[in-house]
Subunit: 157 residues, 2 copies
């Protein structure tokens, strides 16, 4: 498989994005490739060869991405190869994970307020403020998503 310069460039950018989110470099490149590839589904061999990573690195990356639900595969009758693709539900998941992360932060911060004993309550105020914002965000986000879905329907109609 050959890729255009733009595709190669994008794979690197997507790679760096995912590296910053805690993925290993090779794993991040596999995500990039599956995303920018003209073909939506690629085999183990295609991935390994196109990205120039060893079979072991490819195996590890694919299994990691399968386990974390980022990709999936199909097979075809009379063909032992697996055809990997990005899980399309993955987008919503990715967004949800970011939001969950904020939730985790919020939980920690609430415990901070419980545990530390500051003489002057002024020091707690800003933190309380942020916590309550995150709580508000959590309640309002579903509404926002609903609203957007409505808008989207309108546009289609």
């Amino acid at each position: 498989m050959t890729l255009s310069d733009k595709q190669l460039e994008l794979i690197e950018e997507i790679g760096i994005y995912h590296e910053n989110n805690g993925f290993q470099p090779a794993v991040a490149r596999v995500m990039g490739l599956l995303l920018v590839s003209d073909k939506p589904e690629l085999t183990f061999e295609e991935i390994s060869e196109t990205l120039n990573i060893s079979k072991s690195a490819t195996s590890n990356a694919l299994n990691m991405l399968l386990n974390t639900g980022h990709i999936e595969y199909t097979t075809f009758h009379g063909d032992r190869k697996r055809y990997f693709r990005i899980k399309s539900s993955n987008w919503r998941d990715l967004f949800n994970k970011k939001m969950e992360d904020l939730g985790k932060l919020n939980d920690i911060l609430k415990r901070v307020l419980e545990v530390r004993k500051r003489d002057n309550p002024i020091y707690d105020e800003k933190l309380q403020y942020f916590i309550s914002f995150l709580d508000y965000l959590k309640t309002q986000l579903p509404n926002l998503i609903e609203q957007w879905e409505k808008e989207n329907e309108k546009q289609k109609a």
Copy 2:
């Protein structure tokens, strides 16, 4: 300075949270300490001793956090020590950074759609859907924040 078990535990949790966000372990622990400490401001020495990290690690961590605007310090007349504390504006910044990151992702995804050539447009649809959601989120987030600020005013009154 002595910390309760709960405080020590929280420092580790905050540490792990920040490590996942790309901070070095020692840096992440310093953030944790400044957050859970009963005293809002701590000296270099207190930080170094309480966390049991070397002077150089402490120096690096504090300078890194100063440079990235996560902490700040005050001084007092006739006292050469600096008193470090978490920048309170930091909370909003932290949230903004997460949102910026989603914006970055969105930019990349838009370019993906431009660059890859998939025969079947069905494969582009879900991605387009996600992109338009992120766009919508970007327009609506300021409103949401404004709304929350209003609610907050009401509560105070």
